[in-house]
Amino acid sequence: MKSMNIKKAVLSLGVCATLMVGCSKGINEFGDINRNPNATTVPITSALLTNVLAGIGGNVWGNGINTTAGLYAQYMSETQYTDISRYATQTLNWDGFYAGAMYDLQNIINTNSDPATAAAAAEFGANANQIAIARILKAYYFSVLTDAWGDIPYSQALKGNGTIPYDKQETIYPALIAELKAANAQFTTGAAVQGDIMYAGNTTKWKKFANSLIATLSLRMSKANPTLGRAEFAAAVAGGVIEANADNATIAYPGGNYQNPVYAYYVVTQRFDYAVSSTVTDKLTALGDPRIGTFGNNSKGFPYGLTRADALAWQTTNPSFAFIFGYTATPQTMPLSLISAGQMFLARAEAAKLGWTTENATTMYNNGVTAEMNRWGITNAGAISAYLAQPSVALTGTAADNAKIGEQRWLSHYPDGLQGWSEWRRTGFPALTPAPGAGKAIPRRIPYGPNEPLYNPTNYAAAAALYNTNSQDAKMWWDK
């Protein structure tokens, strides 16, 4: 029977060993093995803010809607594949904005608002200040999106639901102004916000940025809702807008892995599809504008909107033409501004001219041009005065001033295509000629991208119907 004992022993051991492997902790217990060792489940709000600001320069140059708008504003010309500058329909989705930077900002707001997480988040700055900064930046993003697409999801966006109606632009604009005012009112004297690579937690500067944004949005309503625009513009200026280049909403790139996007495009991506348009260089040349030395790496712009064959033929006989900034010599640390003092002065000049304020239009205009020259490194006061004194530049108190202000505003936003295109759509300045022979007008909006009819079909259809079945030629509310 000895063998039987062995058998019994082995059987018992075998069965038990097998079961024990699975049952030592209880068969359904795995401890913390499903806790992710690569990541945290608690968002660090300062890191979210840095993440947003690190990418925000794409709104000045480089993201899809911006480069498209830059071609529509004729800041740039395409050098070979000229389809966008000849108005082939663009397919741009907005999901990257909403799910990217905008939800990061919403996340900062949520984390600082939720009583369960607010105390921990306060380690990175006063809760109220973090929320206020996030609200301002979120409003900025919504303004970028609505100016590109028109009616967009706003009031119900960023709440986890993807099948929500679009808000009308005429309600978004006042809502954004109200949001910015509320954010400004929220700032406290608490601990400085960390991760703020734009203003280093300086709440005064953030307030000026918010007021400047209110002023910009207000002026954009000049035709659609001048009553509200006028009131809000005046209030924003009274509250304090950006008046010095030191207060500009500027991203100063550290270089290395975070570079000026123009540098990154030419040097890292190694493409040269975009050159400075001859529309820009011709205007600068006509005005004798010294910024011609900084807008591009030389003064010869690329003709706008040529066919592909014509563009190639032109290049072969004109090998040297202007690329943006310093082309491949653009400093990778070159800063980009979302909103500058000069842009605000020029906006104030236009508002004064409209009779919205009692400010002196000429003073504002001269301040604006001067601040812009300074921003581009042109500090010779004599040269700037001479420039301003030219008949083609100087304001004369006549109706011709509108075009001059419009041109200077267009130049001040270079290379931020969306702002330049928006100003042109609203004011018609400068006078732009559509691409030759394309048989089309300059588009008035970016059509909704292909994801919306798939994932939000009902609400998309309702919105698209208001723009002549999502046409790029349909005008949005403020574009009259």
Binding site: K8, L19, G22, I27, P37, Q80, Y98, A157, T316, P450
Partner: protein, 1074 residues
């Protein structure tokens, strides 16, 4: 649960009986082909019965002097007198009788196909290896009912294609079938066809539930070859050498050369290199544009690209502008694959068997500088230690190094060059001849200059002729790019079987699958300095990944016969541990020291990533069957899994299955004498679906690249649902298995129906929610279809045999019934420019994977609407219809046909395979059209004039339809060819480039000769067998819907982005056994 199991084990223990005056009989049942599993071994005239195991082994005690009878289906009974010691029971197969086929299911359990209640096709090694294919998936093509094989070009040494079983089962398409080798789940890449004895393909939940959650899309169950006794020393040598030649190329035009315009005249000036002086006044066509809308190829004198590069024999010389119809084809090398396998197999007749094998596969690829070297070691042994214990092991090790750039995406440097952006007039032989020359500034000269020579600047030659605009010389690119990966995989098991009695045994196995991968990629500095818009910066990156998987498995098996009932019951437990680790690093923004390829040499802070992942699952399972009088059988299984990746409170999934088979031919022997065998079967089952690790939370990872001293973190774009849970897929199927005409005709017909509900998966949602995807349990996919296997022995003579096996599968319905609440579509797949042309979607209520994109808008009569020519004005372009549906990406009908002929010592194997239906979008065709490369962009119109001639001169493409403005007025006009062929990109129209996946082709041909070794004289005595074969693969298409790109090797789910050419493979094979 623990308590009840212990009780059950105790109960089983009590059934162990003891015998007196007995003798232990032990042995192994074999026939000509090897072990016979599951044979009945009986002490004659008693109820003392045992069953042989999956290796034919048995041991039991009988009365001294008793007779032992061994019976197995299809074999003559065998009797022997019981004596102590090891019995080799060799039983004879009965001529004309049904050959018993054994299905291998989970845990290596062998089950006779007589009693399987679900579709289970078994492919033996002869059918599998008609010719020696480079990998398992290729070898299965056309041989399994219900399997669609999406192969890949032979040029892609790093890819083995994808097997889709029974259409789309889940909403995602990433996971195919699992591969199970001797019970261990592993990867198809590392399964050596030479070591395979047979393959069982299991499909529905009822067949695969016991494999656990990973077998959701079916299981390819491989049994490797084992040691067996035979004549000679047991050594077998198998060598094959095959040659791959690019065969299925797009149809290119050969009438117009490169550029985007006409001739340009070169004017020399003294700042230019002196060599150029001789070219003054000669003409050239544009070098900078990479399309072929240039001048007519008319044999005239022109300046080719290489003429502008000083320092070689062709510098400064003009050439004739002549057609180069084979330039793209001649780029591809003849690939050479040498595959040598040496194996040793022996069984000592005392319960000990051993097989060891070594395989060396050496491939010189079709792409320049690409190669693969694979070593495979395989060993399996089984050893009886007395009558109680058996130990065994199956171990496989593969080591493979693969070199080469196999990118087949948009604008890749091989196929993406020739078929998408190219100059049709380029002489490929001169590109090859000049691949090692350099410009005076040390860069690689390209056919695609950054600027034309007219823009020469001596101060910046790199901005003009001496750097590539978008492209390099393709030969030089592949000579310089250096991408390497090294794969090591060890998998297999060691096992111990304990036989407690003739009825009860325990088998414990420890299984391991260890996979290490090392990648080292170098983009050398010269590629950075030689290109202007090629997008390449000098770079080095490396990656190390370790995947380790352990399975600890124990199964208690009970077998007994009670009168007319044969009962088998198994009880087991399994513990699964999966651990993955990965460290990856890459340089960023270039290198500081040119030519030093090290992470530390990164221009800016290097990228690093470190990914850790662990998961576990515990499982208990029981399964078994009851067979009544050999004609009625019931099969059942139940498995309970607990997963670490599911929510703690809800981490258990129970998957039951049950099925029955009825061999009705037992009752129709007199009524239907021609019916040799008839079985009806039906089964039902559920299989579990699990989650990936860490899928329950929002996981914020830290970006290691700091902005100054600030660190960055982004909110993930995928949002999980706090209530996520696992899910179960339900399948039922039923069928008939029939054999007629003395078993010469064999058929199996199966209907299946599957419902996959509430699978946890990420569905795309609009970004306006704050996320772009959301993981929820909401989707519901169903599928049903018919599968037929038919085998016919058309001829069975002494010298001549002809057998045909065919498989056909028809997908009746493959519907997406639900997505998330409020969602009606799900994006399955899209290639580059996906949103611009066509993508594959799931739409609620429609078939799985619908191809949708830009079509041509038509009126009610089907007439295309003609709108404004966007380039020149006037009527000319089609009106786009942004949401045109072409149908599912899954073929409706798939199948294959295998023929085996033998005449005396000759044998021929022929495999055809085919599929009908299914759609794909060809991005290469779109760009090949846009760039004026494909044949349809040239040629004559119906007036007999070149379409590229001006419309005013009688040229142009004829366009008919109706005016879009009213939808009625007929339009019949000629449109400038350039405008016409550019409209599809500008208007986002995919329609002309959407094709059916339908094809039929001769996939395999083998003509073999068995050398009669008895005639080889003295030398032949040591040789047991020798054969030689001529083999061919992908020889030709009988038909195909798409003429430009091989529909059997489409690279993506929705279509191709830059597919490499299909290759025809010819070779030979020599096999000798000693």
């Amino acid at each position: 649960m623990r308590k009840s199991l212990t009780l059950l084990a105790f109960a089983l223990l009590c059934t162990i009986a003891t015998f007196a005056q007995t003798v232990l009989v032990q042995g192994q049942v074999t026939d000509d082909r090897g072990p016979v599993p599951n044979a009945t071994v009986q002490e004659k005239g008693t109820k003392n019965i045992t069953r042989a195991d999956e290796l034919g082994k048995f041991s039991f005690k009988v009365k001294q002097g008793a007779l032992v009878v061994v019976t197995a289906v299809g074999h003559a009974p065998f009797e022997f007198a019981a004596t102590t010691g090891y019995q080799n029971v060799k039983i004879a197969t009965l001529a004309g009788e049904l050959e018993e086929v054994f299905v291998t299911s989970a845990f290596g359990v062998k089950k006779s196909q007589r009693t399987t209640p679900f579709s289970s096709q078994v492919i033996n090694s002869d059918q599998l290896n008609v010719i020696r294919q480079p990998n398992l998936n290729n070898a299965l093509a056309g041989k399994v009912a219900g399997v669609q094989f999406r192969g890949q070009s032979s040029a892609k040494l790093n890819d083995q294609g994808f097997l889709r079983i029974r259409g789309g089962g889940s909403l995602t398409d990433g996971d195919g079938a699992i591969y199970v080798v001797d019970g261990t789940i592993t990867n198809s890449f590392d399964i050596n066809p030479d070591d395979i004895a047979d393959i069982t393909v299991l499909k529905g939940a009822n067949a695969t539930a016991l494999f656990g959650s990973r077998a959701g899309n079916g299981a390819i169950v491989v049994t490797t070859r084992k040691g067996k006794s035979g004549k000679g020393i047991g050594v077998e040598v198998n060598q094959s050498t095959t040659f791959d030649k690019a065969a299925f190329m797009p149809n290119y035009q050969n009438e117009y050369g490169g550029g985007d315009g006409g001739w340009l005249t070169f004017t020399y000036n003294p700042t230019m290199p002196a060599e150029w002086q001789a070219l003054n006044g000669k003409r050239y066509r544009d070098f900078t544009d990479d399309a072929s809308w240039g001048p007519k190829i008319d044999g005239s004198e022109y300046i080719p690209w290489y003429s502008f590069i000083p320092g070689h024999s062709r510098s400064g010389k003009t050439a004739s502008f002549t057609p180069q119809p084979n330039n793209a084809r001649d780029f591809w090398n003849t690939g050479v694959t040498a595959n040598t396998n040496v194996s040793f197999s022996q069984s000592n007749g005392a319960g000990q068997s051993l097989r060891v094998s070594y395989t060396n596969q050496n491939i010189k690829g079709m792409l320049p500088n690409s190669k693969s070297l694979r070593h495979t070691l395989n060993t399996s042994f089984s050893m009886d230690l007395g009558s109680i214990f058996t130990i065994g092991a199956n171990l496989n090790y593969t080591n493979q190094t693969i070199n080469g750039d196999f990118n087949d995406g948009y604008s890749n440097f091989s196929s993406g060059n020739f078929s998408q952006w190219f100059h049709r007039d380029l002489d490929i032989n001169i590109l090859k001849e000049l691949s090692s020359i350099r410009t005076p500034i040390g860069t690689i000269p390209s056919w695609n200059f950054r600027r034309n020579p007219g823009s020469w600047s001596a101060a910046a030659p790199q901005n003009s002729v001496w750097s590539g605009n978008y492209w390099y010389n393709p030969f030089t690119y592949f000579e310089n790019i250096d991408l390497k990966q090294r794969r090591d995989r060890l998998y297999g098991d060691v096992n111990l079987t304990v036989k407690f009695s003739k009825n009860l045994k325990f088998k414990g196995s420890i299984r391991k699958d260890q996979f290490n991968r090392n990648v080292e990629n170098i983009t050398p500095n010269i590629l950075q300095t030689s290109g202007s818009q090629t997008g390449l910066l000098a770079a080095y990156s490396t990656l190390n990944r370790i995947n380790s998987e352990w399975n600890f498995e124990g199964i208690l098996s009970y077998n007994n016969t009670f009168g007319d009932f044969v009962v088998a019951a198994n009880l087991g437990a399994n513990r699964l541990d999966i651990r993955q680790r990965e460290v990856a690093m890459n340089t960023n923004n270039g290198l500081n020291v040119p030519g030093l390829y090290a992470i530390a040499n990164s221009k800016t802070t290097p990228g690093i990533s470190n990914v850790k992942s662990d998961q576990q699952a515990n499982s208990l399972f029981a399964f078994g069957d009851v067979e009544f009088r050999k004609y009625l059988s019931l099969t059942w299984a139940i498995r309970n899994d607990w997963f670490s990746t599911l929510p703690k409170a809800n981490n258990s999934l129970v998957s039951p299955s049950v099925g029955g088979a009825f061999v009705f031919s037992e009752f129709t022997k007199t009524a239907l004498p021609w019916l040799n065998f008839g079985k009806a079967f039906a089964s039902w089952g559920k299989k579990p679906k699990n989650l990936n690790p860490y899928a329950l939370n929002l996981n914020y990872s830290v970006n290691p690249l700091l902005w100054g001293t600030n660190f960055l973190m982004g909110t993930p774009d995928g949002s999980p649902d706090a209530n996520l849970r696992g899910a179960l897929t339900t399948t039922w199927e039923a069928g008939l298995d029939l054999r007629f005409a003395k078993n010469k005709v064999r058929m199996n017909l199966t209907y299946y129906n599957e419902n996959n509900r509430d699978e946890p998966l990420a569905v795309s949602v609009s970004g306006i929610s704050g996320f772009t995807s959301q993981t929820i349990n909401a989707a519901w996919v169903s599928r049903s279809g018919l599968e037929l296997e038919l085998g016919v022995d058309l001829m069975k003579k002494k010298d001549f045999n002809w057998t045909v096996n065919t498989t056909v599968a028809y997908l009746l319905d493959n519907k997406v019934r639900a997505l998330a609440p409020g969602l009606t579509s799900y994006t399955l797949a899209g290639g580059s420019f996906g949103t611009r042309f066509a993508r594959a979607f799931h739409f609620v209520g429609e078939q799985w994977g619908m191809l949708r994109g830009g079509g041509i808008k038509r009126n009610a009569d089907g007439q295309p609407l003609i709108t404004t020519n966007g380039f020149s004005g006037g009527l000319g372009w089609y009106q786009a219809d942004a949401t045109k549906d072409w149908g599912s990406v899954v073929p409706k009908l798939t199948g294959g046909l295998q023929n085996f002929f033998s005449y005396k010592n000759f044998n021929v194997g022929l495999t055809f395979d085919y599929q009908f239906g299914g759609r794909f979008f060809s991005l290469s065709e779109q760009w090949g059209t846009f760039s004026g490369l494909l044949d349809k962009t040239a040629g004559l119109n119906d007036k007999g004039n070149p379409i590229r001639d001006a419309v005013s001169a009688g040229g142009g493409v004829r366009v008919t339809g109706v005016d879009a403005s009213d939808g009625r007025t007929p339009v019949d006009i000629y449109v400038d060819a350039y405008d016409y062929f550019h409209q599809f990109y500008y208007q986002q129209i995919a329609e002309p480039f959407v094709h059916k996946l339908s094809y039929a082709k001769l996939r395999e041909l083998s003509i073999g000769y068995s050398i009669p070794t008895n005639k080889l004289g003295k030398f032949g005595k040591s040789i047991q067998g020798a054969s030689i074969a001529l083999t061919g693969r992908n020889l030709f298409f009988i038909f195909r819907d798409s003429k430009n790109f091989d529909p059997s090797e489409i690279s993506g789910v929705q279509g191709e982005d830059g597919q490499m050419p299909g290759a025809r493979t010819i070779g030979f094979n020599v096999k000798v056994s000693f």
